[in-house]
Symmetry: C2
């Protein structure tokens, strides 16, 4: 069976890597990039790229391509307006790290019924076409949304693309993705910044610093604009988990001041970390895409650590 | 010149390693341990150990040995009372991770004039004589206190022992050591516990967790009783740095809630981490132990990252 063509909108690190990986998997791939430099670099490497968005989207509409939005969040609205007018019936996904905000934009553009959000959880410090790599997604978790509106056929298309890129698919609701990303990525970044900034004011701290300080502040070396972009775009989900962690620390502070004990926080933290260390990643099996309750079942399986490493059956499959 | 003998009080991981390292450096070393098992294990390995504290301290007094207190903090008071009655004129040091509390105990025992606190910043997860290793201190920072009361001759003795163990000596005031240790070790532990505990309550968090979460929670895997012991023993210094970090995080939280910006915290953290990455460890030179203002000069040099890798001249040295 002929694989669905892919139209990549935005040929930066993620979009450019995806173009390479999908073509390596035997797909017809073509793409749009705003800058002439990016397009020329992609063409030089033998890829089919254009600076003309309407040309790319018209071709997507004609070939029934899966459109992948790989532009920064601020550019999404404009891209969606073009998709709406030129290729409204194509299956549509994105690769953005915040899923709730994208869902709202897509809803405003009236394109929800053909949209399934995605987030390949990988990256490097570099950016642009030349930083791309067909192997960027190998074994990386790639979240594919299972929100209530999601169409089984489009979901299967997006999952197939992620698997073609050799990622492992984690099915998740957009809101749960955003809350989890706030907890395991954005909050650790803020904690690292606070640790480093606190130590910066204490004489002798750097002179005695060793392993626990180096580990605890490693991500404070990330470029400030990247840290700001991800924390600020996910503010609605970051605030409640930041509040919860501040509540835990403030309680520990009071216990230490009044009872010279940090027992409660230390026991809770140690026990959670032990659960994380024993967390397993089983393959998700036995769920048919499109069958009754399939979205909730996939969300529950992803929450429990389950991943998809090869295509799931759909409700029409035999056996 | 004959090296000063060493009397090690407590033959656990640190005391036992110190006994091995000092003997390997050509010193006469003898020691006391409370448990028969520890003493028998040390003797089996060819070391001079006894369960009789008075015997060890009498011998220390007769030979003018440097006494090293290597017992847990709760046992210090009892040991100091014995030193006071049997060997009050011997040079005296310790290897405890909290320096202010030890200084107070030593002051109460009336032994300040012969005491210089020490803290070799190393260790393993194991404990007891059998876990010891003559090479435990190689290249490790070993803080030697330069508090106002410190006698130049005793300071030189303690530094010489640390250098015989192949450590690098960081001169520091006890209060500055404790504040720095709170900042670069105890605070990162509490942050790691809070991150892990927060994530433990968020569905999907463990499923998506990657590098920044793993790094940020690594030390939450430490045994809870060890984390509690170090945080609670240093509560007076830990509370102000915990308050400062909570102030930074709470301010960032309010900025994020009201202005959707974490710019201030992120810039401060990134800049502090960059300063840490470029922090150098120059050799301390040009300070004569016992010369006018030597303690303040050494404290300032240690604060600036300076370390001692070979014996400093004393005020009577020529040239």
């Amino acid at each position: 069976m002929r694989k669905t063509p892919v139209c990549v909108v935005g040929l930066g690190l993620i979009g450019g890597s995806l173009m390479r990986a999908a073509q390596a998997a035997g797909r017809d791939v073509f793409g749009y990039n705003r800058s002439v430099e990016g397009v020329e670099a992609a063409r030089f490497d033998g890829y089919d790229a254009t600076t003309r968005l309407d040309e790319a989207l018209t071709r997507a509409a004609e070939t029934g391509a899966l459109i992948v939005l790989a532009v920064p969040v601020p550019a999404l609205g404009l891209m969606l307006a073009h998709v709406r007018s030129t290729a409204p019936h194509c299956p549509l996904t994105d690769v953005t790290s915040v899923k709730g905000a994208v869902l709202e934009e897509v809803g405003r553009a009236g394109l929800l019924d053909r949209f399934v959000g995605g987030h390949p959880m990988t990256g490097t410090a570099q950016s642009g076409w030349t930083a791309g790599d067909a192997r960027l997604f190998v074994d990386a978790p790639w979240v594919v949304s299972v929100d209530d509106h999601v169409d089984p056929e489009v979901w299967t298309e997006v999952t197939a693309l992620a698997l073609d890129c050799h990622a492992v698919v984690v099915p998740a609701r957009s809101d749960e993705h955003d809350r989890a990303a706030a907890t395991i990525s954005h909050l650790p970044h803020l904690f690292a910044e606070a640790l480093a900034a606190t130590a910066g004011e204490v004489p002798l701290a750097f002179a005695l610093a060793a392993g626990s300080f180096r580990d605890g502040t490693r991500v404070a070396a990330t470029a400030p604009n990247l840290v700001r972009a991800m924390c600020e775009a996910n503010a609605d989900e970051l605030l409640p988990v930041l509040d919860e962690s501040l509540r835990l620390l403030t309680h520990a502070r009071d216990q230490l001041a009044h009872h010279r004990s940090v027992a409660q926080l230390v026991e809770a933290g140690h026990s959670a970390r032990a659960r994380y260390d024993s967390f397993s990643r089983p393959d998700i099996v036995g769920i048919a895409v499109g069958a009754h309750g399939w979205r909730d079942e996939l969300a529950a399986a992803g929450r429990a650590g389950g991943v998809i490493r090869s295509a799931l059956p759909n409700r029409d499959s035999r056996g």
